[in-house]
Symmetry: C2
Subunit: 457 residues, 2 copies
């Protein structure tokens, strides 16, 4: 092959731009010559979708603050970045992608980093494919801008109905409550399904304590409309008045442009790249359009999180340019909070759920332990509840979940580290975690919780 | 042997009472019959010495709040607890200890849990062995009560000189500043010697920012006195006026009563029990009168911390009663903070210092990385600096230190978990730590710091 390797990256957010920059960095070391083109159908690069609820809450002044690196900064680093260009199909034999304007772009290596747009149910859409007035998702910076406008325009006493009680649902509930709106959270499950029921119940209580209405176990089937404007949501047997409706029921990989290429997609449309990001010959992928491998049970799961996109993207870019970095899976760690006035709850998880553990053939023993985030005599002490699960036979730590006040959430990291290392519940109970009165009880609560489980194995 | 095993525990704080209670718990399981007597020369059981600075700061209302379990509660659990009884000598052959009143107490098993009283230099002492007026240490609840009285009686503008810039020195500086006093910290070193210089310098800056005077590199040689009352401290070439003087230069194991028994003590007077707490036949020990084994370099070090006392005490009690629990050393984790008004600094360490690492034959590579505790666009984001050290050849993580704002300190736990497992700097860089905008940057700063070191190996 003569001339530089033509790398075409589709998608200019976390995974795509991590790949692109790392590829260029590694290429300088390995002496490879790369020509990196990035195509993105949107208008913003490298932005924090996770930050949008905090923009809605008023913590963040503008969408620009959520942009980690602008298009200009990417171009200065030598990347041919082309925004507003949607790739609609792929020909692996010809090694070309075709854009929405019919342009054909050749590649030597293709990086699929198209992410996962929000799922919008039919009931939220007008015949022209746009959402009804007052209805929207929370994914892109354009979504964020629309919400900033809608919330600013909403009158006193406006009521926001949030459909979905996952991370985004709870974060948007915080935002709307802090902005003084009435809030209803509607979910078909019990809420926060990434937590065990004992733990997610605590989140529901906090939502109620902060003045939200929580409706569990209902599936929204439609909107109540006044012309094109929403005035309520409807489910089988009930309705709830609403001025604004946030749809936060999940995301789906944007992989339609790979149809017909023979590249295998999951039922949900996701890719399953190897630790270096390889999907097929000359095709690579990372980020929200992929599933990730959970090390604990060797299962592929769909976890569209920025941390995985960044890490896998980096390994991909390095490998593509001749390096050896790899993304060796994850242990299913996540965190968020719900913080409104006096109500402050941090919630985090790592590892398997009880259901996951049973499916993997474990004999799980799990217990909830209550304690304090700091020594009881300190003003910093706040309640914390921990769910710890271990295998009865091997004593391996299987999962930990935390719900509690200030300082509770990031405690999950120590448990995630034990899981990463394949450690036991005894490791967690006996290891050397930091103690001083403002930070922990003399027996760190994470270790008390582990000890209690260890004693029951 | 007929009748119950007579266990005599000397010392009724963390290690002693953990041992006693665990021994009784385990004995119920193993069917052993134990008769547990605890002798303590003091007036308070199971109190948090670590909490005394916060009592001085006004966070804690009274000494009683620092007592985890009262004498009455211990007795209710079936322990024959005798306070105000000092053990002055031991006869291992006769299996007896003798008290200060000449009473001889027989034992089958002896548990040494006498802790480590504060070191008081001669210059602080009157001929009768008490400290001069306005001068004291910070170790016992009686010390705490004396300080509460002294601080309450001190007039506006009183000046507190703290001799020693370790954990207690810095915590007392916080307390005195928060109470509105002038503060000088004097130390013979560079301050906070448990941190590398790059990190301890940040603490010195914070002390100054909060209005303290910091005098490094001076060894206090005496007091300036007005009769029995202190009016200043003196060092070679200088003096500093003072209304109150806090002596916080360390502690020393209380093991004099073992003299002549043949039990080996370190130069500093400490014991080195095995993971089950065994010191010699029928003699056990745990807590501040012991050194602890650092797993990373298999060195014994003197770290009089409550967490080790609790853990080792528990293993001891269990083993004494026929169980198998063991305290398998530590990785040298510690944390504290300095928080005065707008100045809030959390500092923590785990693992080896550069000096330790070199002494152990490592080829250490260390870097300081600066970042934020939360996503840059969040109001929660505060500066954080991390020092990460790894071995050039094996890539093993060797040590991590953290200094930063709210949420910085407990980040050390994830690093401590990696050290506990014997992991590499790559494990720290790639493992699955929790991210959401209020809690971390998308690349968690601990992982950025690890990555930077990994790239330089």
């Amino acid at each position: 092959m003569t001339g530089p390797t033509r790398v075409v990256v589709v998608g200019a957010d976390a995974a795509g731009m991590s790949s692109a920059h790392q590829a260029l960095r590694t290429a300088r070391r390995t002496g490879r010559e790369l020509e990196v083109t990035v195509l993105d159908k949107g208008t913003h690069t490298s932005y924090s979708a996770c930050g949008i609820p905090y923009w809605m809450a008023g913590d963040v002044g503008s969408g620009d603050d959520l942009v980690a690196r602008t298009a200009g900064q990417h171009r200065e680093a030598g990347i041919d970045l082309r925004m507003g260009v949607e790739v609609v199909s792929t020909d692996l034999e010809a090694r070309t992608v075709t854009t929405d304007t019919g342009e054909v772009v050749e590649f030597d290596e293709l990086v699929v980093a198209t992410g996962a747009p929000a799922v919008v149910p039919d009931w939220a859409l007008r015949p022209d494919g746009t959402t009804y007035d007052g209805v929207g998702t929370v994914k892109t910076l354009d979504d964020g801008a629309a919400w900033a406008d809608r919330l600013a325009a909403a009158g006193d006493g406006a009521h926001v109905v949030i459909v979905g009680a996952g991370y985004i649902g709870v974060e948007v509930a915080e935002a709307a409550l802090r902005q003084g709106f009435g809030v209803t959270v509607l979910t078909r499950g019990r809420g926060m399904s990434m937590l065990e029921d004992e733990m997610s119940d605590l989140v529901n209580v906090a939502l109620c304590d902060a003045g939200a209405e929580v409706v569990l176990g209902v599936e929204v089937t439609g909107l109540v409309l006044d012309g094109d404007r929403v005035t309520g949501v409807r489910w089988d047997g009930g309705t709830r008045e609403a001025d604004l409706v946030v749809v936060a029921i999940g995301v789906r990989p944007a992989t339609a442009f790979l149809e017909g290429t023979g590249i295998e997609l999951t039922e949900g449309g996701a890719l399953r790249p190897d630790p270096h990001g390889r999907v097929a010959e000359h095709v690579w992928s990372a980020g929200d359009c992929c599933e990730v491998r959970r090390r604990l049970d060797d299962q592929w799961v769909f976890r569209p999180l920025g941390t995985y996109a960044n890490k896998h993207g980096r390994a991909l870019g390095d490998s593509l340019a001749g390096g050896t970095l790899s993304f060796d899976g994850m242990v299913d760690t996540a965190i968020t909070r719900f913080s409104v006035g006096e109500v402050h709850l941090e919630m985090a998880r790592t590892g398997l759920s009880r259901k996951d553990a049973e499916a993997a053939g474990h004999d799980p023993v799990a217990l909830v332990t209550e304690g304090r985030t700091a020594s009881g005599y300190m003003p910093e002490a706040e309640p914390i509840a921990l769910w710890v699960m271990a295998d009865r036979t091997t004593r391996r730590l299987l999962g930990v979940q935390v719900v509690g006040g200030h300082g509770a959430g990031k405690r999950i990291d120590a448990a995630a580290a034990v899981l990463w290392a394949g450690g036991t519940v005894d490791d967690l109970a006996w290891m050397d975690l930091a103690y001083a009165p403002p930070f922990a009880t003399a027996w760190e609560v994470l270790q008390v919780a582990a000890r209690r489980v260890a004693e029951r194995l």
